[in-house]
Symmetry: C5
Amino acid sequence: MKLTRRVKEILSWYESDNPGTKANLARILMEGKLGGTGRLVILPVDQGFEHGPARSFAPNPAAYDPRYHFELAIEAGLSAYAAPLGMIEAGAATYAGAIPTILKVNSSNSLSTTKDQAVTGTVSDALRLGCSAIGFTIYPGSEYQFEMMEELRELAEEAKAAGLAVVVWSYPRGPNLDKTAETALDICAYAAHMAALLGAHIIKVKPPTEAISLDAAKKTYEKSPVPDISQLSGRIKHITQACFGGRRIVVFSGGEAGTAESIVEMAKGIHAGGGNGSIIGRNTFQRPKEEALKLLSDIVAVYKSSN
Amino acid sequence: MKLTRRVKEILSWYESDNPGTKANLARILMEGKLGGTGRLVILPVDQGFEHGPARSFAPNPAAYDPRYHFELAIEAGLSAYAAPLGMIEAGAATYAGAIPTILKVNSSNSLSTTKDQAVTGTVSDALRLGCSAIGFTIYPGSEYQFEMMEELRELAEEAKAAGLAVVVWSYPRGPNLDKTAETALDICAYAAHMAALLGAHIIKVKPPTEAISLDAAKKTYEKSPVPDISQLSGRIKHITQACFGGRRIVVFSGGEAGTAESIVEMAKGIHAGGGNGSIIGRNTFQRPKEEALKLLSDIVAVYKSSN
Amino acid sequence: MKLTRRVKEILSWYESDNPGTKANLARILMEGKLGGTGRLVILPVDQGFEHGPARSFAPNPAAYDPRYHFELAIEAGLSAYAAPLGMIEAGAATYAGAIPTILKVNSSNSLSTTKDQAVTGTVSDALRLGCSAIGFTIYPGSEYQFEMMEELRELAEEAKAAGLAVVVWSYPRGPNLDKTAETALDICAYAAHMAALLGAHIIKVKPPTEAISLDAAKKTYEKSPVPDISQLSGRIKHITQACFGGRRIVVFSGGEAGTAESIVEMAKGIHAGGGNGSIIGRNTFQRPKEEALKLLSDIVAVYKSSN
Amino acid sequence: MKLTRRVKEILSWYESDNPGTKANLARILMEGKLGGTGRLVILPVDQGFEHGPARSFAPNPAAYDPRYHFELAIEAGLSAYAAPLGMIEAGAATYAGAIPTILKVNSSNSLSTTKDQAVTGTVSDALRLGCSAIGFTIYPGSEYQFEMMEELRELAEEAKAAGLAVVVWSYPRGPNLDKTAETALDICAYAAHMAALLGAHIIKVKPPTEAISLDAAKKTYEKSPVPDISQLSGRIKHITQACFGGRRIVVFSGGEAGTAESIVEMAKGIHAGGGNGSIIGRNTFQRPKEEALKLLSDIVAVYKSSN
Amino acid sequence: MKLTRRVKEILSWYESDNPGTKANLARILMEGKLGGTGRLVILPVDQGFEHGPARSFAPNPAAYDPRYHFELAIEAGLSAYAAPLGMIEAGAATYAGAIPTILKVNSSNSLSTTKDQAVTGTVSDALRLGCSAIGFTIYPGSEYQFEMMEELRELAEEAKAAGLAVVVWSYPRGPNLDKTAETALDICAYAAHMAALLGAHIIKVKPPTEAISLDAAKKTYEKSPVPDISQLSGRIKHITQACFGGRRIVVFSGGEAGTAESIVEMAKGIHAGGGNGSIIGRNTFQRPKEEALKLLSDIVAVYKSSN
């Protein structure tokens, strides 16, 4: 597999990483229909943990079977597939080598009363299951944020030493953050920046709104030269700034269930703003497979268009 | 011992496990009167820890002696025997090789003021005692759920590396769950799914009622194609869906003390719904031994009938 | 030293233990005047930690010197001597091999505001000091009960691997237990049973009263065939049932300071009920040595009488 | 590189350290325009973590790129560059050997609700990234102060064994300290002294005000011969006393954004009081690069003037 | 160095310790002007941590320099010098072998809101710095007492294995203890006894008052034969009883700043009661050096007088 110039450039951003980690990043960046473009679309299936099985899979019961998701990701030509331990264990041998996998190593659920997650997988699990990366969620702003960051530090250090990549889901929440704040532009940028500072290779945040939440930040956004934030593309561009001036891969979640049109529209904004891609679950596996493949094909097409 | 086609099929679901763990799963699946059928009946004796010795054993004082339970399980031709450390230590040598044992490695008691358990056994204990599996209880929804899941992660990882199987008791409880919720269909399915995601080989839940507890889940159960949940068999079928579309072994507890008829009736529902079997304690060892053997024989007969 | 039939029988109960642990149990069971009978009297000196030095030793100032207690136990022909780290360190070399010692590895004190203990000794300490066993207190029912059980699990696992025996002081207390409950029959039996389940070789509880504390247990004690609990011997018999139907060694503390007659009377009840012996501190070392030796001689005589 | 007499003298203060640590201290002391003088100016870039990316870098968007800061520090001829994990990872290879780096191994953020920090880097990280030192913040007076000091103890012990230097940011805050107290002279001196007692090689505190905060300390400052504290230089001199009578390197943070004049003025006070230098972030990287270089040049000139 | 009969006798009390630990105890007991007498005077300098640098050292600014204290202890012919990590690091090489040092491995400060200390040094630190012992403070009665005792257990076990001695500062405080209780005779005796039980070689307590604090203890002190507690010598004698009947070394702190006469007077009481010596900081290093040497000379003279 000959790496493209763009992928080589992206790998050069991760100059402190060992060849093993670079190889795993390259596997993700060279996989599927977007292979070589520097863009990526990832299928995440942690909805069962977060919302329960029926809310996740009853709309499309074939998706109860963990093999369904491997096949969906492979058929759609995606870049990687991310899921918790049991889901990966259930297909890791059958689909070994067929698509890069990301082991999601912490998880929450709808029964929880705290803004925390349980660590439910390890680097050893990722290695024995042939994964290319671990995935970890932090909740910046939560009462548990420091513990979560320290868990991430331990897992990330171990992952990097073992030649794995580290994907960080950075979702702000906590006593100082209301619903608006959780997706406010300043808060999303802050969350993305902290993930970068914590050593993430790939950063996942939600697409930000126009809101500015922290009083201390408002002045800055009024006075300083930030991109046009009335457009999604401008806000995405600001997020990429926050990711080391564009020198870290950043992908955006698909958000709540939406129409195919709205999802493709969002991908266009991400693309235009220089984001690296989408990580999109519910909106694909809850649709009948053919619909999902069509939607993913449309999204991929957006990202394949020239920069 | 020649494995049956059905057992080979079940083992194939656990494609990421090492031969040691597969062998131990096979030992349980090939043991006793249901050996080879893919169904199983397990005798669990953790009542002494949970409710105290007199409430557990005074109705049938022979059961104070740990050897009684080994013998009951062996004579009844069951699939495995599960108990806490002391109970297993007290018979592990005498009955070595006579029946697969499951070391229950965490325990609560009636004096507790928290929805948590103490970790009371280790993988090393299980190995030195010749056990085939460890058993672990989680309380999804409890304030301690994340700690419990993390304890399970550590023990399960160690168990799998040592070639043991992992049995998870998944009993929802906590501040967001009232008594009805603890056995509600959506909550049981959620609990079973989380156990699967956490890497359990065998999942134990309570037989669910028709109740749907989470508001966010109600819409799903109204709109989506789920099995007929007015029947136990339909509810069991939904639970098996939640266990990776039927690709994880799921067994159901016998519940509170009941009549022999009601217990056999429940087994019929579990059988019809595609559940893998029963895990039944109080309802057997609190009866005189001959009555218990008769009841277990009837339950086994239900599961032996053709699918 | 030729083991008696009775000691061999008792050792057979501990079928999962390694020869090292069996040898240490045998050392205790073959020691002193009761050697070989299957009965035992142990001298525990943790009063200094629990109540302070003056309350413990001022009545008999010779007892301030740690050597006093070694000598008392040896002269009285007792089975073993149990004490915290400093007390054992202060005589372990002088009296090496003269009497089996039990290192008490956790301790509380009268200044404490919580129902917990500090772990104050280790298995390594016990080994370097030539001890035959470790001793550990749990408070079933306390807010700290699970932590204490987990500490016991770790220490007991390590002790067993190193060929030591494990003695568990099981003293119920906590928010759900009033003073009456702490020595109620059902609670004492429960406490003894939990110690057995946690893997104790020797269980120490307080002599129970007639009270039944847990509502859920009252029905059981009314309906089921339990021994005559109006007599101490009947209550002791029930406790031995709770200790795996009599297949674990159980000894009883001497309780508050009493008359020599009342203490001997209690030993008679323990003996008649099939208890294995007494563990008696304050009532011996707070008396002048000659009185203490006379009292211990009388207690030993009770246990030496035929079963 | 021939060490100056002054640098040799400073190294002699650290008489318990191994040659590796001394070499790294020497690297910092011999680097840049102040090399050999015993004075130093350090560029710290942890503002992104503490205040968010936009508040830190939007005033000078080139600073979003981690390479900017390496280059600023190198071009300005500074002594060292300090930053959290991700920032160092992003340039460690490109600028390997070009300037000593200090890995800031704990971090807080503006979303936090507690006076604590997350440990976000390790000694292993520092070693693989070629750093000369680790940096660690303590909050003396915080409810978390003992945990922070214990984290520091572990990291510092490991760092020293690995031949790294240890830089401690000592920022008093907590329930007993109001805003005035946080920079009061007695409190700053106390904070600096504790850092020295904890084994820091380089101590960073804020420039103190004239306030005396602790009642118990007021008498001392009235009665005892302390330097003239109405002048910054006198207060700085008192801080150097608190740092083992001037036998530990102590540097002062630049504080809130200020005019170039005020910053240079402060450096003069530090210089006159015998402080070892400045650690100055916001006031440099938020200015256009040429302005920043001019300001840093002026600061360096202050420290280069004869003592 | 030929050990005296008295030192040999004292070493014999520590019969469980390895030769390394005995050698370090001997080094302290044979050092300085009291070498060989079985009495000792130790210089502790943790005031900087506990009260801050100005309150500690401003009265005698030469004492800001850590070397001052090494020299004071050496010139005064004391038995040992005790201080936290940074203070020892700053002179350990210069004064290597010149006086036994005790590394104080935990520390509190005046900004703290809890009755706890941070562990700020390790056994490895003590070894690399050539110390003869570690020093550790416990607060019996504090909400943190069990954690502190467990930290001590770990450090003491490690220290003893490495041939170091263990010095325990036992200072009662906590919710059940008012100011009077903290130095009450029964509480001081209890604190000293607990330190002995925890395995301390040298015990440091405050000189007790006549108060008896615990109600449960009052009866004992009225009824039982305790020394005449109206005299300091009688109270000291009771403390030595509590230290294993005089078979553990016990030293007494000097207390708040006092006149030279009062301090010498106190030493006379300690000496008369059979205490092993004084550990005296503030009252020496806050005086001009010549005064301090005179005072220490007077104290030493008290202890040198025949028993």
